[in-house]
């Protein structure tokens, strides 16, 4: 039982870090970044390749992966999102352009690294499992949960108190008002993309550290849907919503695996999603603008 809770927390942490990326981008731009799953993959792939091919330690490979992910996000904004916004395209166009970018990223990875699955070299991270209360936890899993909590806290504080945070919230709430207040909107959006993608990349790396042979060119596919389910449930751009949504989803999946069988696990996300969309489309927290609380 405790093991189930521990597993749930670990999975929820990865989901939350990933879904935060969606929430940030949706908050400032009202669009879904459908290349986020590809960036999740890119982060994991960059880190693992650096570790395997260049023999970098995790201390180097992980920041590298995060950086690659973040930069891809900036490139994405510059090439596929900002130009559309400049000419006033609706919501359809950026959905399609990010889809296109996703296809490009994923297939470049496929062409470069093939369809194999990769793991971080054994021993990259201390591996002796710890036990407490009957549950087995690997050190890397403690790191995952710890990072998730830390980063969510940091993000909340940043949004509320820092100058950048005020700029992001202003742009998210009313772009014109932000512009008139002297905020460099384009730069703020680019930074938001960087942060969102860095978080997505990190969640990909952690995913790869948590599971064997997890990093493949198409690893973004399944988590993409889960991330969407989480933000829909949580209210599209609310951070506490992401937190709650992640826990809810992870818990449902764990219970479902135990109850119905693991092959239905992927459908749980949609089931939850559908339920929320039909009953309360604004999600559990509603659209309150990018708020930290």
């Amino acid at each position: 039982m405790l093991q189930q809770i521990v597993n749930t927390l670990i999975i929820a942490s990865i989901y939350a870090l990933f879904a935060l990326g969606y929430a940030l981008v949706f908050g400032v731009l009202d669009i879904l970044n459908l290349a986020h799953g590809a960036i999740f993959m890119a982060g994991g792939m960059a880190a693992v390749q650096a570790a395997l091919v260049w023999h970098w330690t995790l201390w180097l490979a992980v920041p590298f992966g995060i950086l690659v992910g973040g930069l891809l996000g900036v490139v994405l904004d510059y090439a596929a999102v900002a130009p559309l916004h400049a000419r006033g395209a609706g919501f359809l166009a950026p959905l399609i352009s990010t889809l296109a970018a996703s296809a490009i990223f994923v297939n470049v990875a496929l062409a470069s690294f093939g369809a194999d699955s990769f793991s971080f070299p054994a021993g990259s991270f201390p591996d002796t499992p710890l036990t407490f209360g009957g549950a087995i936890v690997r050190p890397v899993q403690i790191l995952i949960v710890g990072l998730a909590v830390l980063l969510m806290l940091a993000l909340t504080l940043m949004l509320r108190y820092s100058r950048l945070g005020r700029a992001i919230r202003a742009v998210a709430a009313n772009r014109l008002a932000a512009q008139l207040a002297g905020i460099d909107v384009g730069r703020t959006v680019a930074i938001t993309f960087f942060l969102a993608s860095a978080l997505g990349a990190l969640s990909g790396i952690l995913y790869g550290l948590n599971l064997e042979s997890a990093i493949t060119y198409d690893m973004g596919d399944t988590i993409q849907l889960r991330g969407l389910a989480i933000i829909v449930v949580g209210g599209m751009d609310s951070i506490p919503g992401v937190l709650l949504g992640s826990l809810l989803l992870a818990a449902s999946e764990t219970l479902a695996v135990v109850g119905i069988g693991s092959s239905y696990r992927d459908a749980i996300g949609f089931g939850l999603l559908f339920l929320v969309l039909v009953i309360r489309p604004s999600g559990l927290f509603g659209r309150r603008g990018l708020r930290a609380a």
Partner: protein, 246 residues
């Protein structure tokens, strides 16, 4: 010469909204741009603030060429706009909206900013009452006050006001115009765009009439107010005297 605009051209796709507009604003003045909707007034202001690309012309502010400057830089230079429709951040409180106006002020100005906000609350007691309330629940007139107050917090040298009287009851329009007077008395130059020609012309030192994207008349406020063509086109005849029904 605080602001000089020469041969400004603004296009929306194939349509030229502004076709070679030139005007100047001296420090300490209230300058009015009047004209009907579609005449190009709002397009002109948006282009001045860098919200719209200028297809031609030159804009000089405080001696600097700001024709290609990005909007955030223009605000930093002291050219601040209170837009048509106010652009109030609906999901933030009145206080947060005001603080947004102080975004360009350096951190060390914080005590001065607080003092200014306090004074603004004194001047606009309706806002003070609703300090923590969501801006979306303010009335039109209160939102206009908030938008102006927010603009003032950016310490503008030149304040652009785009149709501040739009959608306001005549009683409130008077109030807004009084505020414009006060702003000028406080040392801020004002460029006022209005459909309410009578009010704007009564207030302005200098006025420009825009029609179909071009300046067709310019002069002092009083001169233009007296022009019979203007009277006919924009001010109409007082309703009680007209017998043209049916």
């Amino acid at each position: 010469m605080l602001l000089q605009c020469e041969d400004l051209v603004v296009r929306y796709g194939l349509i030229e909204a502004v076709r070679g507009v030139s005007f100047a604003v001296e420090e300490g003045q209230i300058v009015a741009l009047i004209g009907a909707n579609g005449a190009g007034k709002t397009s002109t202001l948006r282009a001045l603030s860098g919200l719209l690309r200028k297809a031609g012309g030159r804009v000089t502010f405080r001696g600097q060429d700001i024709t290609r400057a990005p909007s955030h830089r223009i605000v930093h230079l002291g050219l601040v706009q209170v837009p048509e429709g106010r652009a109030i951040v609906a999901t933030m409180s009145v206080q947060e909206n005001l603080e947004l106006g102080a975004y360009t002020r350096p951190r060390r100005d914080a005590p001065a900013v607080r003092a200014e906000i306090a004074r603004l609350y004194e001047r606009f007691p309706a806002l003070a009452l609703r300090r923590r309330v969501l801006a979306s629940s303010l009335s039109g007139g209160e939102q206009q006050m908030l938008a102006i107050a927010r603009g003032l917090l950016s310490r503008p040298t030149l304040l652009l006001l785009d149709e501040p009287s739009l959608g306001l009851a005549p009683r409130l329009v008077r109030e807004v115009m009084r505020i414009v007077s006060e702003i000028r008395a406080g040392g801020t130059t004002v460029l006022l765009v209005e459909q309410n020609a009578r009010q704007a012309l009564a207030l302005a030192d200098r006025a420009y009439v825009l029609e179909q994207g071009q300046v067709t008349l310019q002069g002092s406020g009083r001169e233009i107010l007296a022009d019979p063509g203007i009277v006919r086109a924009y001010l109409g005849v007082a309703p009680a005297a007209e017998d043209g029904r049916g």
